[in-house]
Point group: C2
Chain length 236, copies 2
DNA sequence: TAGTGGTCTAGACCACGAG
DNA sequence: TCGTGGTCTAGACCACTAT
């Protein structure tokens, strides 16, 4: 068939096209790398890269000896990128503002220790701050930093630079977990955000680790109008 | 240095380690593929794959001629996988239930046409349904399907199989967009979910496309306790 | 223009795991 | 057991872009 260029992108596009056209329906076995290489006139390594990328984006599933199958169902999803608050606000053309509400050294009690994954009594830094967009509350941030993993935080005032931004710049991470949901504003949260108690809030709970060691736990609250966007163009 | 095995995973781990240890701080230029291949005793293709994967996970940025640099900031994120509601409920050990509330053929008005990305007057199928976990409302789904992109939906009753599950099985997509946020329950939504009007809801707005053509637009509402989880182990 | 990443090849060996 | 994917190599040419 295709005897023309046949780079891995061409092979990937051709295979994806045949999957989307149901020539190979969900569950079907597709040709081996060697067969595809023959068909498209390329080296096996080229077919391998095409199929590997289709597997990474969930269109096919691969197993040694069993071959490559079209995925039965491809879950909706995408690559999630939670933005730095300041850049997000500025990108929308609004003026960014920041206020530190609280900064306190703490020892982890049992509940916090369990939530963060540290030992009870571990030294933590507790922070609460407010991010503003054109003067209006945009995000209320409550955060704990594990000082064992990020000792430099102990001497950082966080009065001008938000913990969000400081951590992204200063402390790398290797694993993260995000939990998204809704919550009704407590009286305190409502007051900080300028809303009525019980107002609907969008809640992001973020935890990060560096090589298995817990770094930080954050609870980020947004008023109801806010939307976090996740786009997916894996099919390209 | 490392004269041992040195597969691409070893090179990737070694380079990542040097980045995390700040041997190469954010913004620093790291050695070329050829230099790394020499240092780790492997072929350039092996070093290339290691660096390519580190770039895909956001640890480094690569540009021809300019070389490979450690990323200034690596945004928190991960691979998002929005689950099929039924499987999610069953995986939590609860009994799944489903009720179709409404099914109606519609023509897109101006607002809907803009939201979905179709022409005004396009044939749509409108669906509303409720997903239950152990009998309690779990998700209220409002959806429009573009019948031009998924004509088979016109004859699918959706009485036993939810549109969520039907679409995942029957209609592939190549692009998607998810928007996450909070919303206060309307009277109608509150009634369907068994909550008080104004209750905090977690809201997922999903749109998918197949080769540029809009397929569906869904608004998924969850009670406040629900959490959507996104884990990230890219650093492994 | 020259240096760097991007890709391809033809061949090879290995590891996993289905039958 | 042995077919399939997983990986590696040594070399090559190309594309982009900083200088």
């Amino acid at each position: 068939m295709a005897v023309a260029p046949a780079g891995y992108k061409a092979v990937k596009a051709a295979v994806l096209d045949r999957i989307l056209r149901r020539e190979w329906p969900p569950g079907a076995l597709i040709p081996t790398e060697a067969a595809l290489a023959r068909e498209y006139g390329c080296a096996r390594a080229t077919a391998n890269r095409a199929l590997r990328e289709l597997a990474a984006t969930g269109f096919v599933e691969r197993r040694r000896k069993a071959g490559t199958r079209v995925a039965e169902r491809r879950l909706p999803g995408g690559r999630l990128m939670v933005p730095v608050v300041r850049l997000e606000v500025e990108a929308s053309g609004r003026a960014y503002g920041y206020r530190l509400l609280e900064r306190a050294a703490e020892r982890a009690d049992a509940a916090l220790a369990a939530a963060l994954g540290v030992a009870a009594g571990a030294a933590l830094l507790r922070l609460r701050c407010l991010h503003l967009a054109d003067g209006a509350p945009h995000q209320l941030e409550s955060r704990w930093i594990n000082l064992a993993a990020a000792p430099a935080a102990a001497t950082e005032p966080f009065t001008a630079l938000s913990p969000n931004e400081w951590l992204v710049r200063e402390v790398p991470y290797t694993e993260s977990e995000h939990r998204f949901g809704a919550a009704a504003a407590t009286a305190e949260e409502a007051a900080a955000l300028g809303l009525a108690p019980g107002a609907a809030l969008f809640c992001v709970e973020r935890r990060t680790w560096l090589g298995g060691d817990p770094v930080t736990l954050a609870r980020l609250l947004h008023p109801a109008g806010y939307r976090l966007v996740c786009r997916d163009d894996w099919g390209r």
